[in-house]
Amino acid sequence: MSRISFSRRDFVLGALVGTVAGTGIATALLRKRNSPDASNASTSVFHTDRAARITTPSFIAVDHARCSGCRICEAECALVRERSFDYWRSRIRAHRFEPPLDIVSLCAGCADAPCVSVCPTEAAALSRDSRTGAILLNESKCIGCQACLRVCAKDRSAVIRMSRDGKKALGLCDLCGGDPACVKACPEQCLAIVPANVDGKNLAATPLVIADQLSRSIYRLGRNP
């Protein structure tokens, strides 16, 4: 007898494929169809059985040294959060450097949240989710002024971008409401949910800065072409 567990991932994918999500039978059928062998479900790289729910304000920290740059997190984010194959809309993005390093970056949920501070009061498009600690972007309120983008690029991780039409900010991670899809999808398990008693601000840096530091530690004998 195989036990059937329901995770948010099944729920969201169920919705994506047009199944009536939330009805256990439909979700279970979907899962069965997706897995050639139900007993292998626990060995899936998506680790559906290790779902971690955020119960206290938190952020996601990346173990850059372990990241392989496969961009499975990036695709997962676009599919689950944006229902799109457009990775520009992903809230977690992989960048490539030479000597070979892959730096994944996403919102660090800085305690002082300069992006929220600079959001024009009339817009108030950015706010803090008091339960998960994530910084939420209300797209309908965003006026596209780019103030948040500039301050994040200047002082923090530079994760905020403009939408393709240039009208809305994007790139802020809402932690999937408390059960982040990327954390479960990472085959290297290099994404960790960290309670915000560590301030994510201290880890926030642009991919280039992280790559330069990491390069000195990983390729510690220097670049030697």
């Binding site: 494929v17 050639p36 790289v45 194959f85 960048h95 290297e188 790559a211």
Partner: protein
């Protein structure tokens, strides 16, 4: 509406410094898919006659993703580079520049990103009047002067371009060997791998194009996106259930050095042996314990088989390199008689930096050391160098001479076939190639399958093409989708047939897969036949008929001339090709819809 395709091909005219868009021929796409398939169809359409010089502006250099590129599936992470080969030639050429086509592919993120920049293909025509780089940022396409990037090593060019353009860009670049027209120069990409076979780097260099950078994330319309998302979960589960999943993620292709040695298939000292006493010094366990620092993956693949490390001890301390993957490890390791790990990694690192095909390079170096041992090449022929087996410092000097075409590097840069002809008839038997393409890292006497693989591969002595007709068709189909051989080895073709059906709306099954593969294979054959390649060009070097392994588990293994002939006879029979000429019969071409292409 076309599904799975953007419908647009980006064309670059380097001479006029202009770009334009052309429409993807969707009828051809249904017959050839993309990648290697649509590439050869386009090459045939663009080159109306035989004998065009591969290094002339008339030869298009093309980059083809496929209909699955950019989808978040493990497998279709590659891009096919298709052009007329710079290094091949028929045994009896009627035209001075007769050569095969070549397709060569590279993993990483370039192919998926090119597709998501909005293009089903990238065709580069002409030649720039000075060195340039091509930057594709979705609709914004620009050429800029390469400046002092020209002449730089590949790692330096990648680092500088990535810093200048931003780390969202995925980059391919040539090294000094491509700039200098070395016939076996490749194009180097972002996961320290190379589009190695066929000299595409020399073609790119002849166009004065140093590098291509691309950024993009626009999805193409899909027939059934929900179905593809479900298939994604399926492919992930299938991969995780593969019995080699854990060790492949941990070790990549490196253990193949040990298994090929055990099977007597490791190329050793210019192919004279099938095993190598020092094989345990070249890859595992040293690679993992002392060398590897990180694992790198191609797009959307959990296998992460690219292993990157830095040599920590000895003369080559500090060298950063990839692998050894199997091919580079065998060709620059055992085939060169190398006995130390650091030396092998330094050779791989330097070959990568110079932009050389590591397979052909190891073959050329083995050839030089063999000739030196036989007394056919002397120190005076080699600018004072004495290349004995495994002498890494001398091999490194030879690499640079080849890449910069200095001294003896001038004739070695032509590849073993042409170099042997220049050295003299005594050298010819030691040139291990088919159709002028240097053979790869799998030896023949203990496994005659590779006689057929090397012999009948349409780009010349390549190890990638399959040992049976049906396997050749399966692999050709996958190359048209830019799917990786390793993921295919793990989960087969069925998921990708399904993916094609879901992405495009066409019904793709076993029979359509094999038909598409056979059509592409035969069109490639016609291309080569027009250039003058015949049955004699499908034969291995006669030296294989004289080699009998003296050492190792397969001591005594041989490959006879009679076996060579019988292999080809039954192969041509099975293909519906004429046994005497090797040309496809009219019936065969008609059945594949190719008859109208041939007069």
């Amino acid at each position: 509406m076309a599904h799975g395709y953007s419908g647009k091909i980006l064309e670059i005219d380097l001479a006029a410094r202009r770009h334009s868009l052309s429409d993807t021929d969707m009828k051809a796409a249904e017959q050839y898919l993309g990648g290697r398939g649509l590439g050869i169809k386009t090459l045939w359409d663009r080159l109306p006659a035989a004998g065009i010089d591969a290094l002339s502006p008339a030869n298009p250099l093309m980059f083809w993703p496929g209909p699955l590129s950019g989808l978040p599936l493990a497998g279709p992470s590659r891009v096919a580079v298709v052009t007329k080969a710079a290094n091949t030639s028929p045994a009896e050429p009627n035209l001075p520049h007769a050569s095969t086509l070549t397709w060569s592919s590279i993993g990483g993120h370039f192919g998926p990103t090119l597709k998501q920049a909005g293009y089903d293909g990238l065709i580069i025509n002409g030649r720039a009047d000075r060195p340039v780089i091509l930057i594709i940022d979705e609709d914004q396409v620009s050429l800029r002067n390469a400046g002092d990037l020209w002449g730089q090593l590949t790692s330096v060019a990648l680092a500088r371009l990535s810093r200048e353009l931003g780390p969202d860009f995925r980059i391919l670049t040539i090294g000094p060997s491509g700039e200098n027209g070395v016939r076996f120069a490749g194009i180097t990409g972002d996961v320290k791998r190379t589009t190695a076979r066929g000299g595409a780097g020399a073609v790119m260099g002849a166009k004065n194009l140093k590098a291509i950078a691309v950024r993009g994330s626009r999805p193409v319309p899909l027939h059934n996106a929900d179905g593809l998302i479900a298939l994604r979960g399926n492919i992930t589960s299938l991969l995780a259930a593969w019995n080699n999943y854990a060790h492949w993620r941990r070790w990549g292709a490196t253990p193949l050095l040990l298994s090929a040695d055990k099977a007597g298939m490791l190329t050793t000292k210019n192919y004279r042996e099938g095993s190598w006493a020092a094989v345990d010094k070249l890859g595992l366990p040293t690679a993992e314990r002392e060398f590897w620092l990180r694992h790198t993956a191609c797009a959307f693949c959990p296998l992460k088989c690219v292993k990157i490390g830095q040599v920590t001890t000895g003369s080559w301390r500090g060298a950063i390199a990839e692998g050894p993957g199997y091919s580079a490890g065998a060709m620059l390791g055992s085939n060169c008689g190398v006995t130390d790990f650091g030396g092998l990694m330094k050779l791989i690192s330097r070959a990568d930096d110079l932009g050389l095909d590591p397979i052909a390079t190891g073959n050329v170096l083995g050839f030089v050391m063999d000739l030196y041992e036989q007394g056919i090449l002397r120190t005076t022929d080699l600018d004072g160098l004495s290349p004995t087996w495994g002498d890494v410092p001398v091999l490194l000097q030879l690499l640079d001479k080849i890449a910069f075409r200095q001294g003896c590097g001038e004739f070695l840069a032509q590849g073993v076939k042409k170099a042997a002809a220049l050295i003299g008839s005594a050298a010819v038997p030691f040139a291990m190639h088919v159709k002028g393409q240097e053979l790869a890292g799998w030896n023949v006497p203990a496994s005659h399958d590779f006689a057929l693989v090397y012999g009948t591969a349409n780009r010349g002595g390549s190890h990638q093409d399959g040992a049976s007709i049906q396997e050749q068709h399966r692999r050709t189909f996958l190359d048209a989708l830019c799917v990786c051989r390793f993921v295919y080895g793990a989960i087969g073709t069925a998921p990708y047939q399904r993916a094609v059906s879901l992405a495009t709306g066409w019904n793709c099954d076993d029979s359509s897969m094999l038909l598409i593969g056979e059509r592409i294979w035969n069109l490639e054959k016609i291309f080569n036949a027009r250039e003058g390649f015949r049955r004699v060009d499908d034969k291995l070097p006669a030296r294989f008929n004289e080699i009998s392994f003296r050492n190792g588990p397969k001591a005594g293994a041989t490959f006879s001339a009679a076996k060579q002939e019988s292999l080809l006879d039954s192969y041509y029979d099975g293909r519906g090709w004429d046994k005497k000429t090797s040309l496809p019969t009219a019936e065969k071409l008609t059945s594949l819809g190719l008859d109208k292409l041939v007069k």
